[in-house]
Symmetry: C2
Subunit: 247 residues, 2 copies
């Protein structure tokens, strides 16, 4: 059993986990454990790797730039997650960080930044987004860290990817159907959704997407939601509709 | 008709609106219109007051510390909003600002900050929260500005207010029923929900609330949601369940 500690520490490590292994912890994780969480020898923490489940580990040694962890005991089996993908556009003031954080908590498994005609912010730092997702996964108890792909042009996605699956296209500018109606028609199939930039989609983009047939426009209501609000609302609605276990 | 402008400017004014009135705009609204939006004479803006609907107004004069607006024409009738109240606890790093902003977009009509046993942050600036709600209402097209009441102690609310209506109590620490089950049982009646602090509720608080009978604990799922995420998820679920028009 995990001993009670004032703060339950939980980290993701991208390496195999099994009983009795000794792991070297360096760099960012070392800094987090030693300087932020002020961990001591014999403390227990939780470690997951997205494959082998969650393990109780014990701190064996703390050096100047290295911590040794012993993998002690399995604590939670690895679940499988339904794939749920969010295509989002970079936002002013890095508000897309918020999309990554909140949607990781809500179980989105893959994010793809998309550059559209009206995207203001470009050149995202994908590594920074990944670290945000990792931190959110560690804190929320999620057993994987979502994938963050390289950013893509919407026009390329329309040609290469958007014709392969049903995609919910959150379009605030048009009087489209409410999500319940759309989702009831295609239940179990929707695994991706697209959130636009502040300025919405261009007429050209809208036309090219709707032509595909499997891109379903959906309205999130009469009010104007900011893009980051719309992302959380869409993820919540999809999670409620797609599975019996709410969120 | 409202003439097309590069930025659609929309402000809330807490005073009567009817055709031909001339309004003096001073202080914060003056600064916003003149210095932030760089408004010019003859420009048109939208003004609402939460009672008389939304009006097209024309800028008549811009002085050093005063703008004169003429109320020209009604643009939208005043709708009535279903009351939906959020009790929330102040959060670290002012993340409660985010609750105010997002939940205003989602149509929450009343907010009450609540001090619980595990609330870390106290002494909220209610006026600042109100300004945040006002800005979110102006930008989202909402036709009212939600009310923000003074902060209250949870123990006082349990005695004075919580026995008057059904309250959804978002309790992440317990394996309670998913919201759909709870909401299906009491549909149409739930008009308030309570979001806890990061540390959750104390056993004592939990017990005193459940004793009331009309406080219904609900689980937002297996993962640990941050309080601000939980607030948006709860508001989305309530809006979907309570009304046919999604959000």
């Amino acid at each position: 059993m995990l001993m009670k500690s004032p703060k339950k520490i939980r980290i993701f490590l991208d390496r195999p986990l099994k009983e009795s292994l000794i792991l070297d912890i360096e760099n960012a994780d070392f800094h987090y454990l030693k300087n932020v969480m002020r961990i001591k020898i014999e403390d227990q923490i939780l470690v997951f790797n997205g494959v082998d489940g969650e393990w109780i580990c014990k701190i064996k040694r703390i050096n100047r730039d290295l911590i040794n962890l012993e993998v002690v005991q399995n604590h939670k089996e690895q679940p499988s997650y339904e794939p749920l993908r969010c295509y989002f556009t970079p936002l002013n003031n890095n508000r897309h960080n918020y999309i990554i954080e909140k949607l990781t908590e809500l179980g989105i498994t893959k994010f793809t930044p998309v550059i559209t005609d009206y995207t203001n912010t470009k050149n995202l730092n994908i590594q920074k987004l990944y670290l945000r997702a990792k931190e959110a996964a560690e804190q929320s108890g999620l057993m994987i860290v979502p994938e963050i792909t390289e950013q893509k042009l919407l026009s390329d996605l329309i040609i290469e990817e958007f014709n392969k699956e049903i995609i919910l296209f959150c379009d605030e500018k048009k009087n489209t159907a409410p999500p319940n109606d759309v989702l009831n028609g295609v239940k179990e199939k929707i695994v991706s959704f697209l959130i636009g930039p502040e300025g919405g989609f261009s007429d050209n983009e809208r036309m090219n997407m709707i032509k595909l047939g499997n891109v379903r426009p959906v309205s999130l209501g009469s009010r104007i939601l900011r893009a980051d609000t719309a992302a959380i609302v869409a993820a919540t609605i999809l999670q409620i509709t797609n599975s019996k276990a709410v969120i």
